[in-house]
């Protein structure tokens, strides 16, 4: 009982601290960010609960009827009330496909960002804190990769890994390969930002105080330095999420991302692109709108976070 009360008090305390914080104040004062957050939240809910929320299941071939293919949205002539945003060339409901497609976009986006943050922050931390030849090797590697456009790196990794995999696994593993490709293509940015911040923190006296008592370097990096450099990394990760979603869409648009049987926003845009000039604009228009809205919302939040966490702008 007492345990319960104290944990309740802790939650209360935490809630109070969140509502009381500068960050929350700046959040509530900024309508654009609130709208962006709501949009992102709606996307996440729609994607997570797509199997229950979506009016149709685009993965169920039994429910598809080719006679219903290329139905226009409901407010146009020939529109059907059960297909709000119309159907694509296979007779799949666009709205449902967008919901399932955002799933892939968000999963790939989040996982790829997590991957590159992990690799980038880890290598940046080591390079910045330990310095010496390790620093040179890691940072020159990052420089070399930064010289090549990220999308090309992702394309190359995607291609190479896909070839290395046995054919029967290719479709199954496609999404993981995509995460790896996008994650690897983006780590140098995190490594550079992390290293820069670590170089500043490393020379502060609280690090020296830990060194004097012989704290293990790994512990100093993770418990002392890391919490103090997470601000800029967090901001980059938010903006990086939007970038990763775009990269995924681009790769899928180019036809090297997820297989055509798994609808992602990029695949839908590519399929619809073929019908654009024959008048079925809705097949590509709605996925495009969804993609732009999601990326814009995430980007605006990242921009706000950067300003909100910047003490000079407070």
């Amino acid at each position: 009982m007492i345990e319960n009360q104290s944990s309740l008090a802790k939650i209360n305390d935490l809630a109070f601290r969140i509502v009381d914080s500068d960050l929350f104040y700046s959040f509530s004062r900024n309508p654009i960010v609130v709208v962006s957050a709501v949009i992102t939240f709606v996307f996440i809910i729609a994607a997570t609960f797509a199997p229950w929320l979506a009016p149709h299941n685009p993965f169920d071939p039994a429910s598809l009827d080719l006679m219903e293919a290329s139905t226009p949205p409901v407010w146009l002539e020939d529109g059907m009330s059960k297909f709000m945003l119309g159907t694509d060339d296979q007779g799949r409901d666009i709205l449902s496909t967008i919901m399932f497609g955002s799933r892939v976009s968000l999963i790939v986006g989040f996982s790829a960002v997590l991957f590159s943050v992990f690799v980038g922050v880890g290598s940046g931390l080591l390079a910045g804190y330990l310095g010496g030849w390790l620093d040179t090797v890691i940072m020159r590697l990052a420089d070399v990769q930064l010289a090549i456009p990220a999308i090309l790196i992702a394309l190359m990794i995607n291609g190479v890994v896909a070839i290395l995999l046995p054919p029967q696994l290719q479709h199954e593993m496609a999404i993981y390969v995509l995460i790896l490709a996008i994650g690897v293509s983006d780590w140098p940015r995190y490594a550079r930002v992390t290293r820069g911040s670590v170089l500043v923190e490393r020379n502060k006296e609280y690090v020296a105080a830990a060194q004097v008592i012989g704290v293990h370097p790994l512990f100093i990096m993770l418990r002392h330095v890391l919490p103090n450099i997470m601000g800029p990394v967090l901001v980059m990760a938010t903006i990086g999420l939007a970038l990763a979603i775009i990269t995924e869409a681009t790769l899928s648009f180019l036809g090297v991302g997820v297989p055509p049987t798994t609808p992602s926003l990029g695949t839908m845009i590519r399929v619809g692109n073929n019908y654009l000039f024959s008048g079925e604009w809705w097949i590509t228009f709605f996925p495009c709108t969804a993609l732009v809205t999601l990326v814009l919302a995430v980007n605006l939040m990242g921009d706000w976070l950067r300003d909100a966490l910047n003490p000079k702008l407070r």
Partner: protein, 341 residues
């Protein structure tokens, strides 16, 4: 080290520094250096320094900025390795001891207090965690409640309240932060504290509080201090003995009262003349001539000769060594030859 500069401790000194040198390579990157045909550039931050600190004593190092004071602090606590020379802590070679497996046993015997109270406390840690870190690292307490008890006691000891432990460092003023810093340093129950300009970032009124706290703690816990400062008034207040440094070398080592009453080295005299004094109001002072030379390219012979009013040819050629002179140790040819009287 020759017997001349032994200060004649009856008991073994706690810290012995012998011919300590620390060189930093500040040359440009290798390729640039080759292309521009420049030699390697070595900065001699500490150049052959020897001193001893007895148990329970406060030994101060003073000097202008850039003379190597802070480097010595870092060398003495093992944050940096010396290029040459020895540091003996309680008779053991310090740099061998801290790399050995059993290093925790000796490491806990010294601690450091830093200059900037705004940088020396991790802003993301609660004060409790900051103070208890040495206790946890050295495993000095068995249980969580024992750690908490010790932290509460330490906070009270430095004049804060145990309730302050739950706060973050940014909720405190500079003086209070320095108290937290001292509490952290004391938490491993050290014998020896290295204080690198502990008061220079504080207001004058707060400086006095911190210095009195440090003196009080020294009396109660029998601490030994290596005190580093550029502020002569502070040094006079806290020190038993004082070493005056110039460009990585000691030029005079004397007890505090001797040094302030009867400074012998021309550089010490120059330093003491710069202290503002009520009696000097309106009287024209001798302006200090010259600047501290570049330690990458120090002057030949005695490093002080370009600014010294007593310099002669010998000073320009021969580096003076510390020698006993009327109870103090002086490194000056002019004093040795009695040219100063």
């Amino acid at each position: 080290m020759n017997d001349d500069i032994k200060q004649g401790f009856e008991v073994k000194p706690l810290l012995e520094v012998r011919d300590l040198t620390k060189y930093f390579d500040v040359s440009k990157p290798w390729l640039t250096r080759i292309l521009e045909k420049q030699p390697k550039q070595i900065l001699k931050a500490v150049d052959g320094l020897s001193f001893e600190i007895g148990k329970g004593e406060t030994f101060s190092l003073v000097g202008e900025s850039g003379c190597g004071k802070s480097t010595i602090a870092k060398l003495v606590v093992g944050l940096q390795r010396p290029s040459n020379g020895e540091i003996l802590f309680d008779g053991q070679d310090l740099n061998k001891a801290i790399t050995s497996k059993d290093s925790n046993r000796i490491r806990r015997r010294w601690q450091m207090i830093f200059q900037d109270p705004f940088a020396s406390l991790n802003p993301r840690w609660r004060v409790n965690d900051i103070i208890s870190e040495p206790i946890r690292v050295f495993k000095l307490a068995k249980s969580k409640s024992e750690i908490n008890d010790r932290v509460d006691k330490l906070l009270t000891q430095v004049g804060l309240s145990p309730a302050d432990g739950n706060k973050f460092p940014h909720e405190f003023s500079g003086g209070q932060r320095q108290r937290i810093s001292i509490a952290r340093a004391l938490s491993s129950e050290p014998e020896f504290l290295v204080c690198d300009e502990p008061t220079s970032a504080l207001d004058v009124s707060v400086q006095a509080q911190i210095l009195n706290l440090m003196k009080d703690l020294q009396r109660r816990l029998g601490l030994t201090y290596l005190f580093i400062s550029h502020n002569l008034a502070v040094v006079y207040h806290v020190s038993d003995r004082i070493g005056v440094m110039y460009l990585g070398r000691l030029c005079e080592v004397a007890t505090a009262s001797d040094l302030f009453k009867n400074p012998q080295h021309p550089y010490t005299q120059l330093l003491l003349n710069t202290i503002p004094d009520m009696e000097m109001t309106g009287i024209k002072r001798d302006p200090v001539h010259g600047e501290v030379p570049n330690p990458i390219d120090p002057p030949s012979g005695c490093a002080f000769h370009p600014r010294c009013p007593l310099a002669n040819d010998r000073c320009r050629k021969e580096t003076p060594q510390l020698q006993k002179n009327a109870g103090s140790l002086i490194a000056c040819h002019a004093v040795e030859e009695k040219r100063n009287v």
